[in-house]
Symmetry: C2
Subunit: 330 residues, 2 copies
């Protein structure tokens, strides 16, 4: 019995974005096909300047893999005091046929990859087929990941980006243009950026409404990424009044996603949620039904996305003899 | 940033029973000193012939270590179908100052060691000082561990043992006599064995009352180990009517320990629980107060015991340069 150990650089080389998109699509379908168990996550909150460490468990019946992701975040002093990043992650994979620990892999890239892929999966299912212009509110790592993923599945003609900080915005423009050759227009205001969007992506992890409802033109698809905890918010709740709302998980999004805000304000009820994206991907519920409707995908992130992505990385590692085997017991 | 990997054989060599007893005593005291966070455990139950896999999280503020134990059990086909044991365990240690994964160790020995130690800690706190005769109802691995631990803290003059299966009983006698030089009397009945006890240990994981109340003589200390899940039972609930009941955790023992049974039968109320063992060890509540009282220690097992035990093993490994360092990221 040996356990495969995978370093961050090996994980990076073992999977491409198209495989992550496939893995996330599989995860969403599995979630709605009674193939998944995801108990509530558990964690420890530590006093500032430390952050939290969370443990998210997922079991995917089809591949018989149980995944546990340990992820930390918000440890402000880590780089200076401990020489490690503010957040780290490790994924542990268990063979559900025996309970054996089959793999320990660095997980610091996986959250970014699978979250980027979730936006692309929603674009395939919900954006207009003639969408060409993307607006990014947010210019951080996840704003880059979203473009990396969506660029795999459609032709992006131009990208309108906004950030309070012009230097950060300029860096985003330079990076995206050099990496993907997509022209990036640095918007002078959020409003100006949002008005251009066929697809609007929000990745700010903001704490208040950033996007006003009347800025969004008919036919826009919104990828709402930044809100995965109570207290975070990016969108004007009024946006939900006449939009088609698709979520990754109804239980999670009504509890702590962007969807919580319009529910809390009684702008929509739970019945106004069109469905979970797995239901759309499986063909059980329609996706976009007209060029005029505004669609919103609220993504909070699910353990099963880590499971299918990490499982694919593990399979690729075994197939390509990458990684280090370690025998914890005879 | 490197993670220490420890194999089962290394774990075995890195800690002795006296250190485990100290670690468990520290864990109990810490639990009652606001030094511990133990979220509810999470797990996945798999269909027979598979078992379950559980994840138990503990944070000990004094040593700033967060432990996660992944343990599986009840996979009946494992030895034949997968060449691995029916149950396995791994312990992951995180530095709570940074969130970094500092150690992954095989955990298959730790449950047995720390559970054995828990009985010894209770004997120190609650048994008569002149106790010399032990009765063991149960002759499995944990029945051996209890003797190994208690033998470290008192002189055992004779051991009365009972098991349905005479072959198993004889093997237990042979093993204990050769390892510890303690004479083992194979009892002809449970009653005969129990009547001899200064200290009675039950480790059967039984599903019904095994020990009748009127077999137990005044002054006996009972170490109730086997019941850690609803549905398991070893003691006649009537035993609790006039005994001093000490538990490891009131919330766990009232929920799923031996204590559940007399509560369920209204033989005792929650107020009749004398206290948690940490309170006794800290001197906040008295232990044994007379040579005549019957004391019962109900042990369900806590994540913090894994934490302090595994932390000691980790410290010993670092101090002695044992184990393999692995760098999951630069």
């Amino acid at each position: 019995m040996k356990t495969l150990l995978l370093k961050k650089d090996e994980v990076r080389r073992l999977i491409g974005m198209t495989e992550v998109i496939d893995a996330v699509e599989e995860a969403y379908k599995a979630f709605n096909s009674d193939q998944v168990e995801q108990p509530d996550y558990i964690g420890i909150d530590l006093p500032s300047p430390r952050g939290e460490i969370d443990f998210k468990l997922g079991y995917y019946k089809a591949n018989e893999v149980i995944s546990m992701k340990a992820s930390s975040g918000g440890f402000l002093d880590n780089p200076t005091a401990h020489g490690v990043p503010n957040g780290m992650a490790t994924i542990f994979l268990f063979d559900a046929r025996s309970g054996a620990l089959i793999c320990v892999m660095d997980g610091s890239l996986i959250l970014g990859l699978r979250t980027g892929a979730s936006g692309a999966v929603s674009v395939k299912a919900l954006a207009r087929k003639d969408a060409r212009k993307i607006t990014s509110v947010g210019t951080g790592n996840q704003a880059r990941m979203q473009i990396r993923a969506i660029n795999e599945i459609m032709k992006i003609e131009e990208l309108h980006a906004w950030d309070n900080n012009r230097d950060t915005l300029f860096k985003y423009k330079t990076d995206i243009e050099s990496e993907y050759g997509i022209p990036v227009i640095m918007a002078n205001s959020k409003k100006e950026a949002v008005e251009q969007a066929d697809i609007l992506i929000t990745t700010t992890r903001g704490k208040g409404s950033l996007v006003e409802a009347d800025w969004v033109k008919p036919g826009t698809h919104i990828v709402a990424i930044g809100t995965d905890q109570r207290g975070k918010q990016e969108l004007d709740p009024e946006l939900f009044r006449n939009a088609k709302l698709v979520v990754d998980s109804i239980s999670q999004c009504t509890e702590k996603g962007e969807t919580w805000h319009p529910l809390d304000r009684n702008i929509i009820t739970r019945n106004d949620i069109h469905g979970e994206i797995g239901e759309v991907l499986l063909g059980w519920k329609p996706g976009r039904e007209s060029d005029d409707e505004i669609t919103i995908f609220d993504s909070t992130g699910m353990a099963i996305q880590d499971n299918t992505t990490a499982s694919k990385i593990y399979q690729n590692a075994v197939a390509n003899n990458v990684g280090t085997f370690f025998q914890f017991f005879e």
